[in-house]
């Protein structure tokens, strides 16, 4: 049977349960797709034998009946997740050869559900980037191309390998992580669905930390339903992550009725940027019309501190990163620099980090050290924390006025070409996150849904932002948007 790798989770689940296909057949189709995908550079490690072993076990479990939804479903795992015995490097040379002795909580839950691991997925180094170009493995490549062009495009970042793999049918779904937009922006660039859950909904334990107060793992899938199924499997309290929420997890898939009559959807005026491409404006207006036609009420809202989200983020995230990345010192794992005669441990630390970290990571670690240093802590870090309070309050005020969800563009443009931003200053790259970063600062759930193509045939996405812990309602609105938009385009296979 061919083409099984193109199935959604929901369809594969039904076919596995009805014994129309086996987990081994499904996994073999995915392994073959992965083996033929080197031009996309989506996988940093391939684990086909491990996948087949897991698939056999899944078939046995399916044979006994009562298997979980993800039983036998082949997935790709972002390189940021620690997977026992399998290289987990955060796409950094400083973790060269690192094979964890433990398994992250998210992947533990996935394997306990019977899911199958196809391999590890490319990403920006330590999840710092918006184009996958900071990866020590080289950039992953977007399966999509501009019409009439074979110029390689970015799949976005930091979860670029995850996005390329899901979009190119190199897995049924993948894990991502999102600190400032790293699930939602690549999902939009590749025509897939990406969900950043409420901060605390999913355990961060065993995920290599970037900015701990902002990081959250989530699903990257072909449909909204698949994201709901995936989130069901990974959400929930974990005693090993003290910031994970000890509260009931609803059935996200059961919430997908498509009925959004009476829901109030806000359009924030501050997201209407000067110089925003007309295509993005139209996409946004069309999305609002679709939700209105489905029975929702569309209202204008204001999030007055939006403009300050990016600068606040680029103080707070590097500050947390400089602390989290202090552990990479060449002592316990990964790379250690070679020393000359007469040099000691101080040279070892500084040279190990100069050799092991790429330029963007070095930049952020140094910015973080600066904004936390004596004399500048109050002016930068403390002030950014105060602005973060105001950004969160903006959302609280809107939700208190009766709004159920907020609709925005997911990205300010379609996918750009690899290398096109090479000479731009770092701040220009940071602008990719302009619509997504507020959600991390406020700890809210967000979802990116593909709803259209631009004039060059590239996918564009819209973002829905939900209330805290209301992923189920947010996903139902996303489901209604998905049904109305009817986005079914796929990249033409060239790799």
């Amino acid at each position: 049977m061919s083409g099984l790798n193109t199935l959604t989770i929901a369809d594969a689940r039904d076919k596995l349960r009805s014994k129309e296909i086996s987990a081994v057949e499904l996994t073999e189709a995915c392994n073959a797709a992965v083996a033929g995908s080197d031009a996309l550079n989506a996988y940093s490690v391939k684990t086909p034998e491990m996948a087949l072993e897991q698939a056999k076990a899944a078939d046995a479990r399916l044979g006994q009946g009562d298997a979980p939804d993800l039983c036998g479903i082949p997935l790709g795992i972002k390189d940021l997740f620690c997977t026992k015995g399998v290289e987990s490097q955060a796409a950094s040379n400083i973790l060269a050869g690192f094979k964890p002795e433990y398994e992250s909580t998210v992947t533990t839950k996935l394997w306990d559900s019977g899911a199958v691991m196809l391999g590890k997925l490319n990403m920006d180094e330590f999840a710092m980037g918006s184009s996958n170009e900071t990866s020590a493995y080289g950039a992953a490549v977007n399966p999509w191309r501009r019409q009439g062009s074979d110029a390689p495009l970015t799949p976005g970042g930091s979860s670029g390998g995850s996005a390329a793999a899901v979009s190119g049918d190199l897995c049924l779904a993948a894990t991502g992580t999102d600190t400032g937009g790293s699930i939602r922006q690549p999902a939009a660039f590749t025509g897939i669905v990406g969900v950043k859950p409420t901060y605390g909904r999913v355990s961060r334990w065993g995920i290599i930390a970037f900015a701990s107060s902002l990081d959250q793992a989530g699903p990257m899938t072909k449909t909204v339903r698949d994201s709901a199924i995936f989130l069901n499997a990974i959400a929930g309290h974990d005693a090993k992550d003290s910031t994970s929420a000890d509260m009931a997890v609803p059935d996200f898939e059961a919430a997908l009725t498509g009925d959004i009559r009476g829901r109030k959807i806000g359009l924030p005026k501050e997201y209407r940027l000067d110089g925003m491409p007309a295509e993005i404006e139209k996409l946004w207006a069309d999305g609002a019309d679709m939700l209105r036609d489905a029975g929702a009420e569309i209202v204008d809202v204001s999030l007055p501190h939006t403009k300050y989200a990016l600068p606040a983020y680029y103080v707070l995230a590097p500050a947390e990163a400089s602390s989290n990345l202090a552990r990479y010192d060449g002592v316990r794992y990964g790379h250690r620099a070679k020393l000359q005669k007469g040099e000691g441990i101080h040279e070892m630390y500084a040279r190990t980090r100069a050799e092991g970290f790429g330029p963007e990571v070095q930049r952020r670690v140094m910015i973080g050290a600066y904004v936390l240093s004596a004399g500048f802590y109050d002016a930068y870090y403390r002030r950014a924390q105060r602005v973060r309070t105001l950004i969160k309050k903006d959302f609280e005020d809107v939700y208190a006025s009766g709004v159920d969800a907020i609709l925005t563009p997911a990205t300010p443009s379609a996918a750009f070409g690899l290398g096109e931003m090479a000479d731009a200053d770092p701040v220009k790259m940071y602008l990719n996150d302009v619509f997504t970063v507020t959600v991390n600062l406020a700890g809210l759930p967000g979802v990116s849904v593909p709803t259209g193509l631009d004039s060059q045939g590239l996918p564009l996405g819209l973002q829905l932002i939900g209330k805290p812990w209301e992923e189920a309602d947010m996903l139902n609105t996303a489901y209604a948007l998905e049904q109305s938009a009817g986005f079914v385009s796929k990249a033409e296979k060239w790799w």
Partner: protein
């Protein structure tokens, strides 16, 4: 606030990242660009606003003060660049 070459050297030291002397000027320029972007935050009136320390209004859970794990020296040392006799080994530190 602007970063000069000496400040760049100090920041690199704080971050424990070796930066060659001839690259410090370029580094100072880059950091200034990013810090300039952050200066926008000075436009915001933050008087009386509490700094956010936790995005979700919940108390950190406490766990029982008991041993839950341990006795896995081999696993802990398995990824070390240099491990000897059950320890992480580093260059001599005595000054």
């Amino acid at each position: 606030m602007s970063i000069d070459k000496d400040t760049a050297r100090k920041v690199a030291h704080l971050a424990r990242i070796e930066v060659p002397e001839d690259q410090l000027d370029a580094l100072a320029g880059e950091l200034n660009g990013i810090l300039g972007f952050m200066e926008q935050l000075n436009e915001v009136d933050v008087d009386g606003v509490e700094p956010m320390t936790s995005v979700t209004p919940m108390r950190l859970k406490r766990r029982a003060d008991v041993v839950t794990d341990g006795d896995q020296q081999d696993k802990i040392l398995s990824n070390a660049p240099d491990a000897r006799e059950g320890f992480f080994a580093v260059p001599k530190v005595v000054e």
